[in-house]
């Protein structure tokens, strides 16, 4: 890993083993430009349900602190998430809610790119637009285009191996990662 690479953290919004979004998240290193290295974020599903009383009594849960530290240390973050009920999965939103309460909010001025896979025609776009709204409220810098909205996911992932096999999708992901690297360098002044 070279010093001049941008280090990107990958967060997946689904927990299930057979998740298309998780499969896409695992594929990212193979599609990344040479100047970008990627690694998966610590788990977000060990955080308890957000309750200010917990925060006030015993402080931030260790899982929240670990997640926040990893986000802070990264040059950029990619969130790959499904859409639940036309919006952000509650578990992922719960993790964001926890870290948003820290003194040094990890998402502040952090470059973030979004990706989603879904079974139907909108490809998770409702979730992405909510997530943009949510992360903007905590001052993240949301990457614009190209968007990665993987529609009709079942047709684009191999039935047996669950690998992403649709070439146009692979191409747009590659394009987004290349664009995201430039975006990070411009915003972080890391040239």
């Amino acid at each position: 890993m070279s010093d001049n690479q941008v280090n990107v953290l990958v967060i997946c919004g689904s927990l299930r083993k057979g998740s298309y979004n998780a499969s896409l998240a695992r594929t990212l290193p193979s599609l990344a430009p040479p100047g970008m290295s990627l690694k998966p974020a610590p788990a977000w599903d060990k955080m308890p349900i957000y309750n200010h009383d917990i925060q006030a009594d015993t402080g931030f849960p260790a899982a929240a602190t670990a997640w926040a530290d990893a986000i802070r240390a990264a040059d950029g973050v990619i969130i790959v998430s499904p859409e639940y009920n036309w919006s952000i999965p509650g578990g992922l939103k719960n993790a964001i809610d926890w870290v948003s309460r820290m003194k040094d909010v990890p998402f502040k001025e952090k470059p973030v790119a979004l990706q989603s896979c879904a079974g139907g025609v909108l490809g998770g776009s409702r979730m992405q637009y909510h997530l943009r709204q949510c992360l903007t409220s905590i001052d993240a810098f949301l990457f614009g285009k190209p968007e990665v909205l993987v529609t009709f996911a079942a047709k684009k992932f191999d039935e047996k191996t669950n690998e992403l096999i649709d070439q146009p999708t692979l191409d747009v992901v590659k394009q987004q990662l290349a664009g995201f690297e430039k975006f990070i360098r411009r915003l972080n002044g890391k040239n």
């Binding site: 036309w86 578990g91 939103k93 719960n94 964001i96 809610d97 905590i138």
Partner: protein
């Protein structure tokens, strides 16, 4: 006025003891029209974070089934929620994500009313419009008006006694509950 007694349940989106939204929710029975009883739904604090693998292996967690049952039995549901990061608190959204997967999905055709309290001036508008969107997907019948956005809630609610001190706020809540009763009578399930 409704011909039959209406049994409405209320769900609070905040967990902390000193929650303003909880104080608002607690005031509901006293502001309800004759014939409408309002009581708090079973809690969602012990729901695991949604993961389809849990659902497909050990089944729905018992508390999720309990909440689903109570929503189904109720004539209407009132959701009183704060706004976290311009959106729905993750824990509340997680509860909705679980019950949305139940057979005979409990929110389908269910009359729903929304309220929110916030220390800021906007009073929770963003969370309510996000919630409406999730409710559209779930095919619920969300009451359009009047809307209840309790902005600058610290000036309207006495933290120590838990009582709403602002008369106009109570007036608007009374109006909404009366409208909700008519709405349920006109459009709710006729069982």
């Amino acid at each position: 006025m409704a011909d039959k007694a209406l049994n409405v349940i209320s769900i609070c989106g905040s967990l902390r003891k000193g929650s303003y939204n909880r104080m608002v929710m607690n005031a509901l029975p006293g502001l309800a029209p004759e014939g409408m009883s309002i009581k708090e739904a079973p809690p969602f604090t012990d729901f695991p974070l949604y993961n389809a693998d849990i659902q497909n292996s050990t089944g729905f967690p018992a508390p999720a089934q309990t909440l689903g049952d109570d929503i189904r039995k109720a004539d209407g549901v009132i959701i009183v929620t704060p706004e976290y990061n311009f959106g729905i608190p993750g824990a509340l959204k997680n509860a909705i994500d679980w019950v949305s997967r139940l057979q005979n999905q409990p929110f389908a055709g269910k009359p729903v009313a929304l309220q929110s309290a916030s220390p800021g001036p906007v009073g929770g508008a963003r969370v309510q419009y996000d919630m409406r969107r999730a409710m559209v997907f779930l095919d619920a019948l969300t009451l359009n008006k009047p809307e209840i956005f309790i902005g600058n809630c610290a000036q309207r609610i006495d933290e120590k006694t838990g009582q709403i001190t602002d008369e106009p706020t109570k007036g608007f809540m009374k109006q909404q509950l009366a409208a909700f009763a008519k709405f349920i009578a006109a459009h709710g399930s006729k069982n």
